[in-house]
Symmetry: D2
Subunit: 271 residues, 4 copies
């Protein structure tokens, strides 16, 4: 699937990908998907953190070109990961620019998905621990216009307002996943963005909790019941009021503790 820039052999190897294609069909996206690679990522001004990313790199291919040069896409990931500067939401664009330039492509996009960790402090005991969030960073260059989309999936607790209201005691609750997808006018740190979700949930999650924390969170959640509808409305209201956010989608999925299926809701503005 590869075409070397310089053949390492005396007898030339045919370059099938560079041949002509006469079907008159341009390809929107062609490239590699699911390449796992270690990566150094820095969020806002925070200390860089090593992580492992699933990388997808695609370019547009003109109608007359038979194939793209997949190996250049892998080489690009290798080089970027070897560089000393960590990847950020700000310098991510240069990677997309570089790809499109090297491949001589009319357009292209890169998508990196990786676990992102935030050190959190338990609400009463103050013990610290990491919580993991699934992040997807997508940069797209088309018609000379660059679009970057940032996605973070935030695990939270939701407690059912109906269950609380109709029951003499207790209320069913469960783990939920709130996913924020945003395009921005100005950079927002992931650590800031995910707080929109945590603050609008019935309660936020922690890796490590002491008993006093568990009491606090249990009561806090009971005091903050939220339907799946409330989760997306709460976060959507926050994102709509944030001047740095240009467009967004908010999704929430409740892994219902009384059913074997999920409750789900979504609000999108401009995405």
């Amino acid at each position: 699937m590869n075409r070397p820039e310089h053949s390492s052999r005396l007898i030339p190897i045919p370059d099938v990908q560079s041949e002509h294609d006469d079907r008159h069909l341009a390809i929107d996206q062609v490239g590699i998907r699911g390449l796992k690679h270690p990566l150094l990522f820095a969020d806002g001004g925070a200390r860089p953190q090593p992580t492992v990313a699933q990388c997808s790199l695609y370019v547009a291919l003109p109608a007359e070109q038979k194939g793209t040069h997949m190996s250049r896409l892998v080489a690009l990931v290798e080089e970027r990961a070897a560089a000393s500067t960590p990847l950020t939401v700000v310098n991510f664009r240069t990677l997309v620019d570089e790809m499109v330039a090297r491949l001589g492509a009319p357009a292209g996009s890169i998508e990196l998905q990786f676990p992102f960790f935030v050190r959190k402090t338990a609400p009463v005991s103050g013990v610290a621990s990491l919580l993991d969030y699934d992040v997807t960073l997508k940069g797209e260059l088309a018609d000379g216009r660059y679009t970057e989309t940032l996605r973070v999936a935030v695990p939270v607790m939701s407690l059912c307002p109906c269950s609380k209201e109709i029951s003499d005691y207790g209320a069913h609750n469960q783990r939920s996943l709130i996913t924020l997808t945003v395009r921005t006018h100005a950079p927002i740190a992931l650590a800031e963005l995910l707080r929109f979700a945590e603050e609008e949930a019935s309660a936020e999650l922690y890796g490590l909790l002491k008993r006093a924390d568990e009491k606090y969170i249990t009561e806090y959640a009971y005091d903050h019941p939220r339907f799946v509808e409330d989760l997306v409305r709460g976060v959507a209201g926050r994102l709509a009021a944030e001047p740095r956010v240009a467009a967004f989608a908010v999704e929430a999925e409740n892994f219902e503790s009384i059913h074997n299926h999920s409750a789900y809701a979504r609000i999108a503005r401009g995405l």
Copy 2:
């Protein structure tokens, strides 16, 4: 998460979902996701086949309404599955209509994902066996307009033209997945649609093959090398020429046998 139409108790239970919400935020989609249910599906004029579907049902929720009535969505699936007529791509619309009507919703969508089986005959020995295809049926009603999208993921073999061309013998090949997503002017049977992918691949797959079949397929694939780019171009050309197809997207993913990542390509027209 539920509100019964008629309370089964003398003391009325509060209906929290029907309360007023004053955040002025309409919800694009709210409902249930990941409900597993057995289902009878009939493709074109073929004999109905029992399968198991993952069901997602969503409605739009006006800004002033606090919550939707999730239990009605589950009830709808139960009733449909209990009906004697199998589900088809033609009668699917009535299910979406019924949902939107029952929920009094301005819009709504249903997505059903299920394994679909086709009995295939091995090319030389003629032995028959089933092959499984992952199908997703999506119906959406918005502004009085109904849109149905049909997706089928077709496992095939791809053999690399570059590897064949540059090597003195052999050629690397692998399993690939070609995914067709279409909107139609007139119904197309799934069994017809998936042939577009199988006929454009290096070779099609079978559950059961005898040695004579294996020889045939090995040589056939070697005679029909296809890049991931060729797969999507071949299928896109077929779909573009098919008058019943209104819009489409074709994706191909090669689970490369020489790498631990995939090659991927996509062509979309109108989707």
Copy 3:
């Protein structure tokens, strides 16, 4: 990967699998994995239900034999699924016997994994709906001895006793999965087996619930707090007291609503 019993061609095709292997290494298991196939399954005396199974079929291979005949394993699944009698935990053995006989193998095993549905009635409203359970049926024949293992994964609710005890109100709860793996002296219906898990949980789950049911379940769960330790102890106690059960393992996984990880426990006796 196949060797036909009768070649369909005049010129004989070499049978590589039947050649001699001189590495003196017997193979414990060789066969096919992940074959998807529709299947009719009947639980105890209940009406047969169509489902879709993931099938794995393996045989032992003597040291001197180069390869097995994979296509015979696929053919066996095709034939069994085409038969009019539904598969049961009782007649499953004949399928394993048949496989070992046809392949002339010293030993073999079959594993079928499929969604299994039970119609449940909501506790107050009495509305009926299906709930899905993941079932794995494994039959193994070795040294003339047949062993059958039945596994069912039961989704339930667990409510934390510590959270309830230490909090002034409320208690965190979540969906849990209790997995029962059993070997029996005499057949037990799946529908009976999974009740052990549902009755020992804080609450059982339903597809469809009305508000009166939701109130009932919420309060019931609050009245029946269970640690992950309690779940496995409760079920283990029931299985240990059941004369038809010869050996068992019980696992429970709580998808904690206050953490982004699970709590897990396991008790095994004889497995």
Copy 4:
């Protein structure tokens, strides 16, 4: 789910987990599962590499004790990850020892699963790139005896000897996964262990290949056809001859390019 060693409040919070349980049922394993955490791992004498692990930590619980202290397990992961010395297959035992000591447990086990990367050099062009391997490290302490199990899943290419033999040209091939699980008398580096699988396959995989490499690998694979049976026999022979290996299991799964299911084989000695 937690019990703090020292309550951070004046009014004592009940310690439910430390209460007495009178069901007389000891628990084999209880703890946490699926905790994601960044980790520094060093293989043999190689430079430490940052990765992200899925962590499971379990202890045995005596019959009379109601519950374990889950938060101590999370704290242990936090502390270990914060330490400056990277984790190795040699010092892993101290983590298991520490867990069992801190929890006052009669037995316990830790399982860490993480992507592990090896820099590989393409066979002709010499270009370097990383390849990812899924590694699972399991340490178990019971009855004062420590057992460590190392598992590495190695993606390779397999080319079907039957297809090659019976076909006039070409041979179907595909990506395969060879999984080695070993217990050792003396430490073996992962980078050494996975070579057993790569050297016994039809060909090994690379992240980055130039055209000359692709030609080399295509022809190499054609010259080294391997059944799934050959893969496990080849690796089993190597492991059986390796004095540092005390017990092993080898599994191979071929994601067949002519079927939509896998071929699978397994040889175990002492596991």
